[in-house]
Amino acid sequence: MENNYRVISVQIKYLVNLADKAGRLSETAGFPSGSTLESVQKYLQQMYDIKLPDPGIMTVLNGRGWNQHPEKMNTPLADGDTILLFPPIAGG
């Protein structure tokens, strides 16, 4: 029987205080084909207790904010996608 299960590799970069929360600067995480940003949302909550969406965390998929992708959290992931997480930085 043919196995159609594929793994999508996504690079997640944790910037500023998110690196402290995740205990790493970046990682490559695998998700089943058909996964969406919501899968990343669940992964981050389960692994690091990082809850999205949060006005204190910018979530950027391939250079665009998650809420600027038409399908928002339902945006499908593709192999090689990059996700950045960082806070808006307030001090001056």
């Binding site: 970069k13 910037l15 500023v16 205080n17 690196a19 600067l25 006005p55 204190g56 910018m58 950027v60 250079g63 665009r64 904010g65 809420n67 600027q68 950045l84 960082f86 806070p87 808006p88 930085i89 307030a90 001090g91 001056g92």
Partner: protein, 239 residues
């Protein structure tokens, strides 16, 4: 004599005499006279920006001196913008420095900014940033945004409709109170703001438009992220 003052920068191939004249004619509004404002104002004054309007309603405190290098111990308890104006004039007596001793609010921001050609965000809170962003959109002038925290900082140039505005990419950032800051982070990011300001005023280089730089000094990592307009942005969406 004044040509000699600027002789090193005039050696840069893109930095013509016309660029220098553009700077001399320019008025720049620096919102905030703290850590970012110190290095931004120093370099813009030294580079020959003709008029600097520097705005802050605070008095200098001892805890400011780890990063606010415009000041010295004898300035403690003095209004920051008065001390800043004196210091900047002592660096470059040929420019105008206008101290604006006011808190930036929706009601005051247009008067504070005046007839400036550019707003530079050296603020320490998003409430005042949103006021400056809206004023920049109303006046049709660019707004250089930056923030610092710890060893890190971020920076971008807003100029909608060519770029997003602050509200497109950070629609609702709550203020977070006192932010920890390493002095050199203010120096690095404030210097980059001055650099972007000179580039915009002179029309040289490739300003950080539509791109957000996030810099982490502790691990020396820099990310540049493409940022896009929000067509439904309540501030710039109608442009």
């Amino acid at each position: 004599m004044e040509e000699n003052r600027y002789s090193r920068q005039l050696l840069i191939s893109d930095w013509s005499g016309e660029c220098q004249e553009n700077l001399a004619r320019a008025t720049v509004f620096i919102a905030g006279a703290g850590g970012l404002g110190s290095s931004t104002a120093f370099y813009l004054a030294a580079s020959g920006v003709g008029t600097i309007r520097i705005c802050d309603d605070g008095d200098l405190e001892l805890s400011n001196l780890n990063r606010q290098i415009l000041y010295q111990e004898s300035d403690i308890a003095a209004p920051k913008v008065i001390a800043a104006a004196e210091r900047l004039k002592s660096l470059n007596s040929t420019i105008n420095v206008v101290p604006v001793l006011k808190r930036i609010t929706d009601a005051t921001v247009d008067d504070c900014v005046g007839e400036s050609d550019l707003i530079i965000d050296c603020l320490d809170n998003f409430t005042a940033r949103y006021c400056c962003n809206a004023a920049a959109v109303r006046k049709g002038i660019p707004f250089i945004h930056a923030g610092i925290s710890g060893f890190s900082g971020q920076l971008t140039c807003f100029s909608p409709p060519e770029t997003p505005c602050l509200s497109c990419i950070f629609p609702e950032v709550p203020d977070s109170g006192i932010v920890p800051v390493a002095g050199p982070a203010a120096g690095v990011i404030g210097s980059l703001e001055a650099m972007e300001g000179i580039k915009l005023l002179c029309g040289i280089g490739n300003p950080l438009k539509g791109r957000l730089l996030v810099w982490e000094g502790d691990v020396q990592r820099t990310e540049i992220i493409d940022i896009a307009r929000d067509p439904e942005c309540p501030v710039c969406g109608s442009l």
